[in-house]
Amino acid sequence: MAKHVLRVVAVVYVLFLLVLPVALIVWRTFGDGLAPFAEALTSPSALHAFTVTLTVAGWAVLANTVFGVGAALLLVRHEFPGKRLLGAFIDLPMAVSPVVVGLALILVYGRFSPLGGLLESWGIQVIFSTPGMVLATVFVSLPLVVRAVVPVLEELGDEQEQAAHTLGASRLQSFVRITLPGIRWALGYGVVLCLARSLGEYGAVAVVSGRLVDQTQTLTLFVEERFQNFDQPAAFAAATALALIAVVTLLFTKLLRPKDRSDGN
């Protein structure tokens, strides 16, 4: 009896908080068939927002993947003073509000700061432009790859790498042939999480992009701007597209999650 009560409470809670709201948007979007959805997403503004989103997310994922693997190797395979502190700094972005991220970047890279002024004199505009949006996205998604790779590297141990060294393999060879195959699922998991976070970032990008329509507008900013301008079909269509990306991400991570793989769960 108590068992059934708990089950009903849990299911009803998730249903009303999560499932029904998302389902309603999808239903509203596709209520009049696929044509309005396709039309709303192929408008020049929407296509431009897609391009901006993909560009920013692409660079951010690339940067955080390279950093993530490097930092994970550093944290697991090397000993140095201040290791715990480095780990804590890597986790720090998770606790920072996206708006504060945006403010922080403006203060350092904005036109009126010393560094921002210097960069601008070299012709590089960071804030209100793509580099700033990439920086903001890198900031918010920074720990994801590192935290996915570290536990697997720890479990893997370095016996095989050492064996490869004694057999004359170079550092690069042992990385490509031994380490990388060993961490590939965890790395895939981290990259998918990082990509989803990057595609969906709103707050930090809203601050540093200046929200210039058809210039620095990402897909999430497009959703907000269209909604505020009473263009519900376009806002719903873009939101549904983003929600579909989120669902696909979820299924991917389910497949890739290291824990589930080893359990065969």
Binding site: L17, V22, E79, V96, L103
Partner: protein, 274 residues
Amino acid sequence: MTREVTAITVRPVRRLAGGTAAGLGTAVLYLSLIVLIPLAAVVWRSADEGPGYFWRSVTTPDAWAALTLTVGASALVALVNLVMGTVIAWVLVRDRFPGRAVLDTIIDLPFALPTIVAGLVLLALYGPQSPLGVNLAYSRAGVVLALLFVTLPFVVRTVQPVLLELDTEMEQAAASLGASPFQTFRRVILPNLIPAMLSGTALAFTRAIAEFGSTVLISGNLPFKTQVAAVNIFSQIEGDNTTGAAAISTVLLVVALVALITLDVLQRWGSRRG
């Protein structure tokens, strides 16, 4: 057998070799340019005009209202998560019913869904055009709802693994000694779960005080009523008052830091018990 033992004991401790130093240098430079220097700049800017200005920025009526609303709503949301997260984790681990696997998968959806989309979907079901006839738009209840949405997975995902590991033999022993189901839960299960429950709650709280995107649409950002701290910071940045924005940001950073330190203490306490 011997091979396994060596695998554990031989953990080569390398000296700060050239490779380590170069890698460490690069990692620290990357972190500094993107995270550390910018965050330091926020704290630095907040103190720019002296402690008096800092205090006045934080205690302007609208900023103070936003901060108290944020902390109050986040505490409430953390509390709801403490209970509901544990219930959901319990159902996922101990109950068997069709659709359980689906429930288990979609719990993570708030992590994958962009926050602005979260706000939009909530507004569709609980806004002015609600098919249920429930309109929470521009109300504090709407803010709480948005925060509940984005923090749903935290407690579930910290409690679930602990419940999975928990041995049911202890419960059976308690039951065979005449304990009622409630007594078994309180005396046997709950003490094992509390550290994980509190860790998840602390994470949910930190996430809630930082939240921006999901609250933008449903709250309507009415100062003194539904404006949360992150939105207040945003409007101050738009109004070119970066020093005031930095002051409120610093308060948020400090609250998050305190919550995270508490979390760390809780985890150590948990691992000592476990």
